[in-house]
Assembly symmetry: C2
Homo-oligomer: 325 residues x 2
């Protein structure tokens, strides 16, 4: 690989001049700058980014913490973040926290030690972890008052899921509640609850986690407790898949006698049979928006708590009945 | 955060001495070393890792490239890598290449620029990309002659899948072939093909990708072309799920009239109905083994092309018939 000396020789200038061009500081004549750029290109010179970030604080590294890399919703978010950053010349470190505070702290430390210039977190809402950071932070699929956040309209999604079941004739509805400490999960739950509370339907609430572990067990308990249920608003698609499996196993006709609505729209929904009707969150777009907002905040040294809420939509597949419009 | 000066003051030594202890070079009396270590602990001092990696080449950062973060097999591998590294005090950067050479090169550049000290790749087998790297590389779920590799027994898995269908009475078998440029996929395919070739069963081959995109379309074509097939060896679990969906849609009884065996054992297998019988690859363990091998090679400056092959096993669920033992 070429050195800065070789670039200087090729451009016919001093090393200090090349350094001024690279760092964008000090006066350099336009013609000189062009000559240096041409030499960099010709020799395929790549300045040592670490050295530059150290002396220059111009690292291009961004950190992303996700709570559960095995839930397919998060890789999709991560790809949205990554593609936007890559286009803009930034680099991404991904850390997986497993919703574990200790692991999250470890990753944040790694980020700091490697001079990341901004961070996106889809994990936890414990802002105390970030307060010591002097870099912009954007929350993704998570919300607090004090930080800029990008998330999908959870209340709208919860409402929509409940309304869809009611409009399609379910009148004994089981509402599955995700982890209560996750505010987005709680928001969608409360909105669905409100819709059911204003309806004439019988309904009940069952608590669930969001992960594969225990999903089948939860589904079994659900039908043991509420065998008469004819509509299920699931906390996410993983849980919905487990509920669908258990319902089929018990011989229920879907969607004739039981309707199920998931949440997220992960890729596997359309491989299920019947394919899962669900509330679509624009995960890829959410990731890209969060990356965009973070870069804006980095460039303008701002950490204004802007909230970007993206719309959700109903993805009609085969676990809900058709209605005539 | 404490500075190196404060550590020196606390320990009653010079900054240069603290630096010698941190960098492990130059002579330091054992008592002095203990005093410095105690001061570091007491003040919770964390040396700037970037500065240290720059001057010292003692970065603790490892890079991992995965080919498709949305295929649940790879996040599981990544977790195995991550957990092992975290325990050993190393840090992980994950990059997602999308099986795209350009993106893979970008990540490798990022790794070099951030002084990673070793790399694990589950993407591509184009060794020319790594030859310029002066750091140990370990392949994971991928194989070449020239690099150390950790992978599951693909040939054994392919053989097992075919034998299981034959032993359970399928005699018109469709063998799905994954991407031909992926050697592990090709190995399991050839082994299954060999078993079928030695049997009396009718069989045919259909090409597939490994991703969600197009999986349903492939499944439709399969049953259009070979409506009589009574056993399917799938290229991976995603493709198997799509095949299962299409078969159910066409009213086939599973496993009575059609048996399906997947490959990988991703978490969603047990949420399907019927739950997918598959060849289990120990993904988490494979990740941990690759991380272990890489760290050994880093510590001993070795890049010996050791091959670690982990056994696969048949995970019997509901898409294959029971046999009496």
């Amino acid at each position: 690989m070429a050195t800065i000396k070789e670039v200087a020789k090729e451009a016919g200038v001093s090393v200090a001049t090349v350094s001024r061009v690279l760092n964008g500081n000090g006066y350099v004549h336009e013609d000189t700058r062009k000559a240096v750029d041409a030499a960099i290109k010709k020799l395929d010179y790549r300045p040592n980014e670490i050295a530059r970030s150290l002396f220059n604080r111009k690292s291009k590294l961004i950190g992303l913490v996700i709570p559960d890399i095995t839930n397919p919703f998060f890789p999709e978010l991560a790809r949205g973040v990554e593609d936007f950053l890559q286009e803009q010349g930034y680099r991404l470190i991904i850390g997986n926290s497993d919703e574990n505070r200790e692991k999250e702290i470890n990753y944040i430390e790694t980020f700091i030690q490697h001079n990341v210039i901004g961070m996106i977190s889809t994990s936890g809402e414990d802002t105390s972890l970030w307060e010591a950071l002097k870099i912009p932070v954007v929350l993704l699929d998570r919300v607090t008052e004090n930080y800029p956040s990008v998330y999908a309209d959870q209340a709208g999604g919860g409402r929509l899921a409940a309304e869809i079941l009611l409009a399609r004739g379910s009148n004994n509805i089981t509402l599955l509640r995700g982890p209560q400490h996750v505010r987005t999960a709680q928001e969608r739950f409360l909105a669905a609850l409100d819709v059911l509370g204003r309806s004439n339907a019988v309904f009940q609430v069952v608590n669930t986690s969001f992960s594969f572990k225990g999903a089948n067990e939860t589904a079994k308990q659900l039908f043991d407790m509420y065998p008469e249920t004819d509509g299920i608003v699931a906390s996410n698609d993983i849980v919905a898949s487990a509920v669908l499996r258990e319902a089929l196993k018990r011989g229920k006709n879907i969607p004739e006698n039981l309707q199920i609505v998931g949440f997220d729209d992960i890729p596997v929904c359309e491989l299920l049979y019947p394919a899962l009707s669900t509330i679509h969150q624009p995960a890829y777009q959410m990731g890209a928006e969060a990356a965009k907002l973070l870069i804006e905040n980095i460039l303008h040294s701002s950490n204004e708590a802007k909230q970007i809420v993206l719309p959700v939509s109903f993805k009609e597949r085969e676990t809900t009945r058709k209605v005539e419009m």
